[in-house]
């Protein structure tokens, strides 16, 4: 009986998280357009539903019903699977992401995550790295020079920014003595790690921006020069998969920022339920992403690489050194 309940709870949680993750990009697109609108002194979507709330639904329907174009002489198999390959890793990341302390549902004590891995952080970094494959496949299979250039850029960008990102996290791991995310969050109960690790956070956040391919690092789809980068040739549902995966990566980065540096679900001063604190913090980071997008231009490819290798990597190593000196 115990086993059955445990299995059922896990099933419910899996389904719940999958559904939530599928739905989350929907309000995010609305939010992005609304924020863009207000920053630019216009209204954003207004016509579908109250203040355009149903606009993402309309967009989704449009994408669903759109013709699915597959370019001539493309690698058809790769072209078809690329969006799925890009979509899966962000979902897999959330297996190891805790959203709060243990809660009890119907008298059954359960933690708010799917799997409490003791190498959760490593797992997340590793799985998030898999997203490159979707991008490479998509760019390569399209048989378009724009897509190819876009995917080449993405490749170089993701690979080189994963290094400072991983290094930046080491500081946190050193402080919390654990790679388990809920342990890391618990270690921040007295004081958030941002206080100890400002440099680490800075490197992590910049690298995160690059990982999520947001402005100022959105070279992969730089519409200014590459049209839409690796998903130039995609349309309809396949295109929307890329979009969903992009928003989920953004969400992942925000969640990681909160978990690693901003005390996870631990609030300050105002006692709010843990998931709400968590959501608020994540929301702030998502807003930051969008705010940046509508303020900054983007870097050039070679400048991005030199920032990654010449600035962020040394900084993150310096951060490890400093942390090491202070810890021991």
């Amino acid at each position: 009986m115990e086993l059955m309940i445990a299995a059922a709870v896990i099933m419910v949680k899996v389904i719940l998280i999958t559904v939530i993750l599928f739905i989350v990009p929907v309000p995010l697109t609305w939010l992005e357009r609304k924020i863009a609108g207000h920053i630019q002194q216009r209204m954003g979507p207004m016509r579908v539903g109250w203040h355009g709330l149903l606009q993402p639904v309309a967009d989704g329907l449009k994408l669903l019903t759109k013709e699915d174009n597959i370019p001539d002489q493309s690698d058809r198999v790769l072209f078809k699977i690329a969006p799925f390959v890009a979509l899966v890793p962000p979902f897999m990341v959330f297996v190891a992401v805790p959203f709060g302390d243990d809660v009890s549902i119907f008298g059954y004590e359960t933690p708010l995550y799917l799997s409490d891995m003791n190498v959760g952080l490593l797992y997340i970094l590793a799985v998030a790295g898999l997203e490159i494959y979707g991008v490479i496949f998509g760019g390569w299979a399209s048989n378009s020079k724009y897509a190819l250039l876009g995917s080449l850029r993405t490749c170089a960008q993701l690979i080189s920014y994963e290094i400072p990102m991983g290094f930046a996290v080491i500081g946190v791991v050193m402080l919390s003595q654990s790679m388990n995310l809920s342990d890391i969050v618990d270690a921040q109960e007295p004081l958030w790690f941002i206080v100890y690790q400002p440099l680490g956070f800075f490197v992590f956040f910049i690298a995160g921006l690059a990982e999520a391919q947001r402005i100022p690092f959105d070279l992969a789809e730089a519409e200014g020069d590459l049209g839409a980068g690796y998903h130039t040739e995609y349309s309809g549902m396949r295109f929307s998969f890329f979009m969903i995966s992009e928003y989920l990566v953004m969400l992942t980065i925000s969640v990681l920022c909160v978990l690693l540096f901003f005390g996870g679900w631990h609030g300050v001063l105002i006692p709010l339920p843990a998931p709400i604190w968590f959501a608020l913090k994540v929301g702030f980071f998502i807003y930051l992403f969008m705010w940046f997008r509508f303020t900054f231009p983007r870097y050039r490819y070679d400048q991005l690489m030199s920032i990654g290798w010449k600035v962020l990597v040394p900084l993150s190593i310096l951060n490890i050194l400093i942390t090491g000196i202070f810890v021991y």
Binding site: Q41, K145, L149, G224, P297, R298, R300
Partner: protein, 404 residues
């Protein structure tokens, strides 16, 4: 197992890799119209540029040979559609030079004021579009907001937002409407604050600086050799502004600074436009201050339409002139004239050869965008793919004018 380095080597040891030919445009978000550029790429680096234009060629010059001098005025609007009043002004000045007449003072002030408004409108668009091509979308929306105010003023004066065709040979179409002056002053007031805003948003931004500083550099001599004009030339340190050096209309009565910058890169071309807008606002204010009362068109019924239609009906002679001008146009003395003005994009010249008939024998437009765009091939060589976008943006081509 084959050594991988052997695979990329040919027989004589040379590399088997070849340049990638990338076709940028004619449908591309950053080419500002239907411009097509064939890029020879080595990785992301540009090896060769071939600019292919003509997708918007409408044969303005051929059409002009079949139009009367009055009918050409709306045609000139369509050249550089961002600053139609400047085009009107240049064309009308050329015809006036041939006719040997000058517009009344008030008309000249109105023309100059509108040309300066057009300059702001043109510069605004490009100084917002360049950051947008580099990713900063918000700048474009902000400049559109102020441009809308200019459009509003234009609609107030002429009744059209873009294709104003307000200048007439020997004057302007109508007098300024009531309530224009306070509105225009309000615009000048707001505009000054707005330029500071744009600079606050983007001018010091390190990313923007990195993307534009030392990109697409051209020296002063080279710029002259390639025929660059306007802000593109002045950004390279050549102190030449036709408004000051060969003053036309009433520019010699207005005081303004000619903005010159030294580096000749994308950033300087952008900044030059920003500062020129400030000067233009000053010019508009001076025009409003100095605007004299009086007629707005020459009292020559055989050239200009009478503003008041009652005069047409009251006298037989006026009626005949009116019909003559409307139906057949007015003859222009035999000869040729080249008149150029300082348009927002550079030297805009109209060369008209008249054979004494009401239609020109030849009308040549010296379109600044056309010449400026030519320099793209020099500027972009050795740059990166993403820089080409910045260079196009900083050269400010309006494809309608490039293709004529």
């Amino acid at each position: 197992m084959t050594d991988i380095s052997l695979l990329s080597k040919g027989e004589a040891g040379q590399k088997l890799t070849k340049e990638l030919l990338l076709n940028l445009g004619p449908q591309h978000p950053s080419t500002h119209g239907v411009l097509r550029i064939m890029l020879e790429l080595d990785g992301e680096e540009i090896r060769g540029v071939d600019t292919i234009i003509g997708y918007l060629h409408r044969g303005t010059e051929k059409l002009a040979e079949n139009f009367t001098y009055t009918q050409i005025i709306p045609l000139t609007d369509r050249l550089d559609y961002l600053c139609a009043p400047s085009n009107n002004l240049a064309y009308v000045l050329a015809v006036e030079r041939l006719l040997g007449i000058k517009a009344p003072e008030r008309a000249q002030y109105i023309r100059v004021m509108m040309a300066e408004m057009a300059r702001i409108s043109g510069h605004l668009l490009i100084s917002g579009a360049l950051p947008m091509d580099l990713g900063a979308m918000t700048t474009l929306l902000y400049v559109m907001r102020e441009r809308e105010m200019i459009m509003d003023l234009m609609e107030m004066i002429t009744g059209a937002r873009m294709h104003t065709s307000f200048c007439r040979v020997g004057g302007v179409r109508e007098d300024l409407p009531d309530g224009f002056e306070p509105r225009c002053r309000e615009f000048c007031h707001v505009m000054k604050q707005r330029i500071d805003d744009y600079e606050r948003l983007i001018a010091e931004n390190r990313i923007f600086l990195k993307r534009t500083r030392d990109i697409g550099k051209i020296s002063g001599e080279q710029a002259i050799d390639w025929g660059l004009s306007g802000p593109c030339l002045r950004a390279s340190g050549v102190n030449w502004d036709m408004r000051r050096d060969n003053p036309y209309e009433i520019y010699d009565r207005l005081s303004f600074e000619v903005i010159v910058r030294e580096n000749g890169d994308c950033y300087d071309r952008w900044k030059c436009r920003m500062d020129e807008m400030r000067e233009s606002v000053k010019l508009i204010e001076q025009c409003l201050d100095q605007m004299p009362p009086g007629p707005v068109a020459v009292a020559m019924p055989d050239i200009a339409f009478p503003l008041n239609k009652i005069t047409v009906k009251s006298s037989m002679e006026a009626m005949i002139h009116h019909f003559d001008v409307s139906a057949y146009g007015f003859p222009v003395p035999k000869g040729e004239a080249y008149v150029s003005i300082e348009a927002p994009k550079g030297e805009l010249g109209f060369y008209i050869i008249s054979d004494g008939s009401p239609k020109p024998l030849r009308m040549k437009v010296r379109a600044p965008s056309f010449i400026n765009l030519q320099a793209l091939a020099v500027l972009a060589r050795g740059c990166y793919l993403a820089d080409v976008i910045a260079i196009i943006g900083s050269l400010d081509p309006v494809i309608a004018e490039v293709d004529k």
